[in-house]
Symmetry: C2
Subunit: 251 residues, 2 copies
């Protein structure tokens, strides 16, 4: 069913970095003939999957996707999968766990399970998480689409504590290490006394779309504790990735 395949493959050229694209450019990107590309776009537009801007004539993802995503969410909510995974993670590690999605230049916590301990890290849903200064942020940037990482690191990076790394070069080295290890650890970089351990969450496009993390008081986060928590965070992130439509990981 090659024709449907080709038409749907056009959707992968839309991203947060490329929210809209003209007909000729999309034909070039996809390698399809301009006439063929236009026919695909007309068919996608008919079903609300894309829409054409009346002024610029360029195409963007359409509002019909919102409805389909709402039906999907209503009947198969990500939360239904995420919440048990986060609860498990809290049971196993004893610390607060959260799941965040990238949107509009930062991560936003959309799933949360809190530790039962009286001394625990408090997080709020919807809070924006700075990317360069948190374990979640670093875990995301290490596996995000490179254009996003480049853009974040090209801006001025504020310090939140005296331990915050603000140099782009040094952060890039940290990201390289995170990629190798598959997990990010950040201690006292956003808030004194807090240690975060985070792994990236992927969806169907192969790049990170969010993270799973636990947050612990730094006093409890000794090296051997961190070593035992890391695989649990990675397991949880992988499980949520599958729910987000990622391909199963080998190994």
């Amino acid at each position: 069913m090659q024709t449907v395949d080709k038409a749907l493959s056009l959707l992968s050229y839309f991203s947060e970095q490329r929210p809209s694209v003209g007909l000729s450019e999309l034909a070039r990107l996809s390698g399809f003939n301009k006439a063929t590309t236009r026919r695909f776009l007309v068919a996608l537009e008919k079903h609300g999957i894309v829409e054409q801007d009346a002024t610029t004539r360029s195409y963007r993802l359409g509002a019909g996707l919102l409805r389909l995503a709402r039906v999907r969410e209503a009947t198969n909510p990500v939360a239904a999968i995420v919440q048990p995974v986060l609860n498990d993670l809290v049971s196993v590690t004893g610390e607060t766990a959260h799941f965040s999605l990238y949107a509009g230049g930062s991560l936003a916590t959309v799933g949360l399970s809190e530790s039962a301990k009286s001394s625990r890290v408090m997080l709020g849903k919807g809070e924006a998480i700075p990317l360069h200064a948190t374990a979640s942020g670093l875990a995301y940037l290490a596996f995000a689409r490179p254009a996003i990482t480049d853009r974040v690191l090209s801006k001025a990076l504020p310090a939140f504590t005296e331990h915050t790394v603000t140099g782009a070069d040094k952060i890039r080295r940290q990201l390289s290490s995170v990629r190798k290890q598959g997990v990010a650890v950040a201690r006292n970089t956003f808030e004194d006394g807090v240690c975060g351990i985070a792994a990236p969450v992927f969806d169907s496009d192969g790049f990170a779309c969010g993270t799973v993390a636990i947050a612990a008081p730094a006093a409890r986060a000794q090296r051997k504790v961190i070593a035992s928590v890391q695989p649990e965070v990675m397991r949880a992130a992988n499980e949520i990735s599958l729910a987000m439509g990622a391909e199963p990981r080998s190994g």
Copy 2:
């Protein structure tokens, strides 16, 4: 581009009432040959648009839609359209305005603009709104997919105030009137002292997906005030409907 058209038309058979569907049933519903339907589903699945349940072998909408919806939202947020519309509505009417989407058996407020008046109705984002006892609920049910309305009205309907209508037959007559007028008014039915005026919001499937409403202290909601507010609420609902992918209304 008939083939792409047909493939995408399969997506309209998924709904909150029919979250999953088998191959043969989908072929019957769509009128396509079973072999053809399967080829379409395989192509849609490849791009994450649908996915097949490993146990039941039935198909449902896929996680890939969530990613596309997130890209769409990140770059063209509904809130960017909704918020100015709600702010306008507050300017014109002087009362708190809110936009709600239907999900999981109730409406949830997802957009809000509050009146500047010290005596005003307070609403919270994310609050579940009962369907039979509010203007928003009635505006939604009047234009929702009939299976939803039937299901809501087949359940026991609790009273919130002494003015709450709880009889299904009486509510159906109210809904009939709402359909004629295009707007619902509810006074003291959910909370004493509060009057709501609501209109349905549509998306691309032709049925209501949510509502726009204003909420005013009942003491300010005299008949002539209500008469002047109704067209403003309908105008706002229509504008948001277009952003949600509805076809433009004639007239």
